[in-house]
């Protein structure tokens, strides 16, 4: 067995069932010294932290939550390999810390019984004692430690209780011997394991046992056998299983029977279970999971969440807008007139400012979704949604990744790791970008605020603008359901997937975890604004600024502008207010005309007019076409491009508290003087953005998670086609209805 090590660095592995507070413990132990990365070749997050205890450095490895150490996927194989010290990128663990919830010790000890067979010292950290006691469960810690033969430490990581005791127990365990292997399995089974182990040199006994219990291609892959040896091994295993079945110990049932028998003996008399009272939270849960009342609450929760995003974000958005406006004004008055002035004021400040203003909405949405998830409510929502999802060939498990995609598709795609079936996972990944992510909010908000009348019904409880926004989210959802249905019947054919999920206990969301997620997303968004959007803003500005009108073309226009200015001057001296107003309008028109002529003449104008025939059926002009094209790397770019095109630094009337870009798009005109945007045009732009895959980062994460470019390519193609068709139908039908 492993001998006590006196090296200066220890590796401590954390394992446990999902929802046991393992990650909270990891966070409490490692504090800010955390690193996340990926194990090469698989999609398991590699979370490591550092602790210094008694002058010794501990490398803490947080492994994904699991119910069993039976590798069913390459991802689960990583956990087993780390624990057995079979990976090159993580040193073999000196101590394994098993995290178990006191309230369901029985099931948690199943995993502990497996950990005890790995030949490493094990320490059991017991969490959620308070919740267990509420349920009438009392655990005699000393007696349990005695029965299991390993240290057991009750902890409360959020309050920081028991951490020192845990560290001391780990220190002692690491300096001691590994526990003797348990004799859990029946005699016949152990004999077969011994016999098989003799034919497999250097393979840990635990893996030999697993091979005998259930077929696992991932373990076989790791043995480095050639095809003949592998076939021979399979034959030996098959023969052994038959012998075992005849002896009345069928695989794989023998494992659960034997382990739970061991758990039963270990907990007998140690865990006292009082009368489980029906508490208020149970009654609330019954309402929240009832198909009718639960669904109504779910709709209400989502409605409140999304309207809160709008109402709470309003004030900080106005501050940000005011801040960028002040900077823009300072630039345009301080710097000399010319390209540099225009680049900074009209390009960078207008472009980046137009996007950064949406930071409050995104942060609030992420925060609210994090609260819903941390509290345990999202698992209930997944349960409720299973009834609906199963009709589209998916299970309730796909709901949480899809819902988090309303905040951002990237964590959504990563959250699909919890879906076991490959086809279900791929289907979910392919429809995720149809969920309206927070980067689409800027587009929706801008156009809704500008063009959808602020009517309200039922004493202001229901607002037309809110309904329009809801409709945009629904467009994505309905299309996603249809796409899932089609995919599950064609490319990814398969029956209704399995749905098994634990319902975590309700708990107060940890503010640290919620704030951390908000900061992470805010940082991503701002660094995007500082790099891609910054660069695209400059490029768009350049394409729109150059080439300038030639002196010959500009001369008559400038002459007209000067005449208008003189007339205005004359009217002012005359003092007739009507004449002043008329002259001012004339001057404004001339200026608009010059700006329009310059834009049409620019590179962007030429490119835009070249693609105009393609976007005209959608009701768009060349400016919208060009801005949409520029937004393919990241969809929020359209807002910054519109900011540059309509140069919000200038001239927008200062009445009311409307944001400046909103006014700019409201007053945008076509060359013939008709307004650029009508309600059908605004809707058509919104539908296009609702359905289009304009996000390079999402496509990249789809590639990483699926390991092939095929899937992102399929997603991009089908979504672009759908977006075009959707926008076309919206504009054409909308125009018919309105005229």
């Amino acid at each position: 067995m492993l001998i006590a090590s006196d090296k200066s660095t220890w590796t401590i592995a954390l394992v446990g069932n999902p929802n046991t507070g393992k990650s909270t413990l990891f966070g409490a132990l490692s504090g800010v010294n955390q690193r996340t990365g990926n194990y090469p070749g698989v999609t398991v997050e590699k979370k490591t932290g550092e602790v210094v205890h008694d002058g010794r450095r501990w490398l803490l490895v947080d492994l994904p939550g699991t119910y069993s150490l039976a590798p069913r996927s390459p991802d689960e194989m990583v956990t087993v390999d780390v624990l057995l010290g079979r990976r090159r990128d993580v040193p073999p663990p000196d101590v394994i810390v098993c995290v178990a919830a006191a309230g369901n010790l029985w099931r948690n000890l199943y995993l502990v019984s497996q950990a005890l067979e790995l030949g490493r010292p094990v320490v059991l950290a017991l969490t959620m004692n308070d919740l267990a006691e509420n349920d009438g469960v009392r655990v005699d810690v000393a007696a349990l430690a005695d029965r299991l033969g390993i240290p057991v430490v009750p902890i409360h990581p959020r309050r920081g209780e028991g951490l020192e005791a845990l560290k001391a127990a780990v220190e002692r365990a690491g300096a001691g011997e590994a526990p003797a292997p348990l004799a859990i399995f029946p005699e016949e089974f152990r004999r077969e394991v011994d016999a098989l182990a003799e034919t497999l040199a250097d393979v840990p006994r635990y893996l030999v046992e697993r091979l005998l219990l259930s077929p696992s291609p991932y373990i076989e892959d790791g043995l480095g056998l050639d095809d003949d040896d592998r076939a021979a091994l399979r034959e030996r295993i098959e023969a052994a299983r038959e012998r075992l079945a005849e002896a009345g110990c069928k695989t794989p049932q023998v494992e659960t029977t034997a382990r739970y028998a061991w758990v039963g003996k270990a907990t007998d008399g140690v865990v006292r279970r009082g009368e489980r009272r029906r508490r208020l939270v149970d009654r609330v849960d019954a309402v929240l999971t009832h198909w009718l009342s639960g669904s109504l609450v779910l709709v209400l929760v989502l409605l409140v969440t999304f309207s809160a995003v709008f109402s709470w974000a309003e004030i900080p958005m106005d501050w940000i807008d005011g801040g960028f406006k002040a900077v823009g004004e300072w630039v345009s008055t301080t710097l000399p007139e010319g390209p540099i002035n225009d680049l900074i004021g009209g390009g960078i400040v207008a472009g980046v400012g137009a996007v950064v203003i949406f930071l409050p909405q995104i942060v609030i949405l992420i925060g609210l979704l994090a609260i819903l998830e941390e509290s345990g409510y999202l698992a209930r929502a997944a349960y409720l949604m299973d009834r609906i999802m199963v009709r589209f060939g998916l299970s309730g498990r796909s709901f949480i990744p899809l819902l988090s995609s309303f905040a951002c598709a990237i964590p959504g795609v990563m959250a699909t790791r919890s879906i076991e079936d490959r086809r279900d996972r791929l289907t979910t990944i392919l429809i995720i970008p149809l969920m309206s992510c927070s980067a689409r909010l800027p587009v929706y908000t801008l156009l809704i605020a500008a063009f959808i009348p602020a009517r309200s019904y039922l004493d202001g409880w229901i607002q037309l603008q809110g309904l329009t926004l809801l409709a945009m989210y629904l467009v994505g959802v309905v299309v996603a359901a249809a796409v899932a249905l089609i995919l599950k019947r064609s490319l990814l054919r398969g029956g209704a997937p399995v749905f098994v999920m634990e319902m975590p206990a309700y708990q107060w969301p940890s503010s640290v975890a919620v704030v951390r997620r908000m900061i992470d997303r805010a940082w991503d968004f701002l660094s995007n604004a500082g790099t891609i959007i910054f660069a695209v803003s400059i490029v768009m500005w350049g394409l729109l600024y150059y080439p300038r009108l030639s002196p010959e073309d500009a001369a008559p226009l400038i002459a007209r502008q000067e005449r208008a200015a003189t007339e205005l001057e004359a009217a002012r001296t005359g003092g007739d207010s009507e004449k002043i107003a008329a002259a001012a309008t004339a001057l404004k028109q001339t200026e608009d005309h010059i700006a329009g002529a310059q834009q049409r003449q620019s590179l962007l104008g030429r490119m835009g007019r070249w693609i105009e025939p393609a976007v005209r059926p959608l009701g768009w002009d060349w400016r919208l076409g060009a801005a949409t094209l520029a937004a393919f790397p990241a969809r929020e770019i359209i807002v910054s491009t519109l900011g540059v095109i309509f140069d919000v630094g200038d001239d927008v009337a200062e009445d009311g508290n409307e944001q400046r870009l909103v006014q700019a798009v409201q007053t945008a005109k076509r060359p013939d003087g008709r307004p650029l945007f009508t309600i059908p045009v605004a809707l058509s732009v919104m539908v296009f953005f609702a359905l289009c895959a304009q996000c390079v980062s999402t496509l990249a994460v789809m590639w990483r998670e699926t390991g092939s470019w095929t899937w992102p390519a399929i997603a991009f193609t089908y979504m672009t086609v759908l977006a075009y068709v959707g926008a076309f139908l919206t504009y054409q039908i909308g125009t018919l209805l309105i005229s």
């Binding site: 069993s68 369901n104 029985w106 739970y260 999920m501 634990e502």
Partner: protein, 90 residues
């Protein structure tokens, strides 16, 4: 209330019924889990093992059941069927 009934002893044989027939609040002991081998093994690992006491919290498909202090939701369909033994007395 059936839920308050003491758990049946090992020698008492109650009626074996599919878990999906339990009403909210009723409980039983897991007798047999049949279906897809992998799924059955997974359910057993999660504690749906012979002799475990389960009680129905939210019937339907999927259903929520209580099992040793935690709640498990799963869809009872052709992939896996769980049979439970009702307490003999009822």
């Amino acid at each position: 209330m059936i839920a308050r009934m003491p758990a049946v002893g090992e020698d008492e044989i109650g009626e074996m019924v599919p878990l999906s027939l339990l009403q909210a609040g009723e409980s039983g002991r897991v007798g047999d889990v049949v279906g897809n081998v992998d799924l059955v093994h997974r359910l057993r690992e999660m504690g749906l093992c012979d002799g475990a006491t389960v009680w129905m919290i939210q019937p339907g498909s999927p259903c929520i059941i209580g099992l040793d202090g935690h709640r498990l939701c799963f869809r009872c369909d052709d992939l896996a069927r769980v049979f439970v033994q009702l307490p003999a007395a009822c």
